[in-house]
Amino acid sequence: MAHSVVAHQQQAQHHAIGIYLWVWGLLFVLSVCSYMVDYLGFESYMKWGLITLFMLLKAGLIVAVFMHMAWERLAIMCAILIPPALVVFLMGLMAVEGNYTFLARLGP
C-alpha cells in the first residue's frame, strides 16, 4: 500500500498538567489587571481598550487551552469560531441604531 494506514480515531486530549496551571495563573493575573483598570479609575478610550484587551486574552486562553480548541482540526475551529466573530457586524449596526435613537430622543 502506498501510504501507511493509520487509524485516525478520536484522539484523547492528553496534555501536560503544566499548561493548565499556567493558563489558570494567567487568567488570575488578567482578571486582576482588568479589575485594576476599574480600581485605578482609567477613563474613556484607555479604559475601554484595556478592558477589551484583557477580555479577549482571557477568552482566547479559555477557548484555546481549557476547551482544547488549539489542538482541534481547522475544520471545527472555523465552524465554531467564525460565526460568533460575525456578531461584531451586528454590534456595529446596533451601535449606529442606538445613536440614532438617542439623538431622536433628545428631540429637535
Binding site: H3, S4, V5, V6, A7, H8, Q9, Q10, Q11, A12, Q13, H14, H15, I17, Y20, L21, V23, W24, L27, F28, S31, S34, Y35, V37, D38, Y39, K47, W48, I51, M55, K58, A59, I62, V63, V65, F66, M67, H68, E72, R73, L74, A75, I76, C78, A79, I80, P83, P84, V87, L90, M91, M94, A95, E97, G98, N99, T101, F102, R105, L106
Partner: protein, 236 residues
C-alpha cells in the same frame, strides 16, 4: 452498536485538511467524537443568545438619555465603613476561574482513568459553581432591597435593571444547570459507570471518559460568558 473508528490514510493538515474534511463522506469533524461536536454546536447557538443579550444591552445603554448607573459604585461592598468597588464581582470572577481550572484538571484525570481524582475535582467544581450562584443570589437580593427593578432604579437609566436581571439571570441559570450536571457526572464517575462503560439513564450509549470533556466544554463556556459579562456590564 459500538462505534468503529474509520481507518484510512492520515488526514491532511492546514487549508487542504479543511477542504478535505468539509468535502468528506459521513463526518466533517475528524478526531472529534460526535457528542463533543454536538456540544460545540449547542454552545455556538448559546453564544448567539448571549451575544444578542449583550448587543441589546449596548443598544439600550447607548440610546438611554438618563445617565447610566455607575456599576463601580452600585456593586461596591463596604468593608469596615470603607466602600470597595466591585468587590463581590471580583470574588465571583476568581471563583468561576478557579472552577474552570478544577474542571480542566478533572477532564485530564478522566482521560488518565483516575476515577477518584476525577470525582473529587468534579465535586470541587460543583462546590465552586454553587458558591458562585449563592453570591449572585446575595447580589440580587441586595440590589432588589435597594430598589432596583426591571423598570427602574434609584440612580438613573431605567434600562439598567432590565439588562442586569436578564443577563446575570440567564448566566446564573446556566451555572445552576452546570452544577446539577457536575453532581450527576461526579456520581457516575464515582460509582465506576464510565470505567465499566455502563449506559446512561436516558441513553443506550456506553459511558466513556470523553463525556467528562463534553461536560467540561459546557462548564468552560459558562466561565467564558462571564468574562464578557464582567467586561461589558460591570467594568465598561
Amino acid at each position: 452498536m459500538a462505534y468503529v473508528a474509520p481507518t484510512g490514510p492520515a488526514p491532511s493538515q492546514g487549508i487542504k485538511g479543511l477542504v478535505s474534511d468539509w468535502s468528506s463522506d459521513q463526518r466533517a469533524f475528524k478526531n472529534v467524537p460526535w457528542g463533543k461536536a454536538m456540544m460545540w454546536i449547542f454552545l455556538l447557538s448559546d453564544t448567539f443568545i448571549f451575544a444578542c443579550f449583550l448587543v441589546s444591552y449596548m443598544t439600550v445603554r447607548i440610546s438611554a438619555t438618563a445617565p447610566w448607573p455607575d456599576a463601580s459604585e452600585v456593586f461596591a461592598l463596604s468593608i469596615g465603613g470603607q466602600p470597595v468597588p466591585l468587590l463581590l464581582i471580583a470574588i465571583m470572577t476568581f471563583i468561576l476561574i478557579s472552577s474552570s481550572g478544577t474542571m480542566a484538571l478533572a477532564v485530564k484525570s478522566g482521560y488518565e482513568k483516575n476515577r477518584k481524582r476525577t470525582a473529587i475535582l468534579l465535586v470541587l467544581t460543583a462546590l465552586l459553581g454553587a458558591s458562585f450562584v449563592g453570591m449572585q443570589a446575595f447580589e440580587w437580593s441586595k440590589l432588589i432591597a435597594e430598589g432596583v427593578r426591571p423598570w427602574g432604579n434609584p440612580w438613573g437609566a431605567e434600562q439598567f435593571g432590565a439588562s442586569f436581571f436578564l443577563i446575570t439571570g440567564f448566566h446564573g441559570t446556566h451555572v445552576s444547570f452546570g452544577v446539577l450536571f457536575l453532581i450527576i457526572m461526579a456520581i457516575k464517575v464515582l460509582r465506576g459507570a464510565l470505567d465499566d462503560q455502563r449506559p446512561g439513564f436516558l441513553t443506550g450509549r456506553k459511558g466513556r471518559y470523553e463525556i467528562v470533556e463534553t461536560l467540561g466544554l459546557y462548564w468552560h463556556f459558562v466561565d467564558l460568558v462571564w468574562v464578557f459579562i464582567f467586561a461589558f456590564f460591570y467594568l465598561w
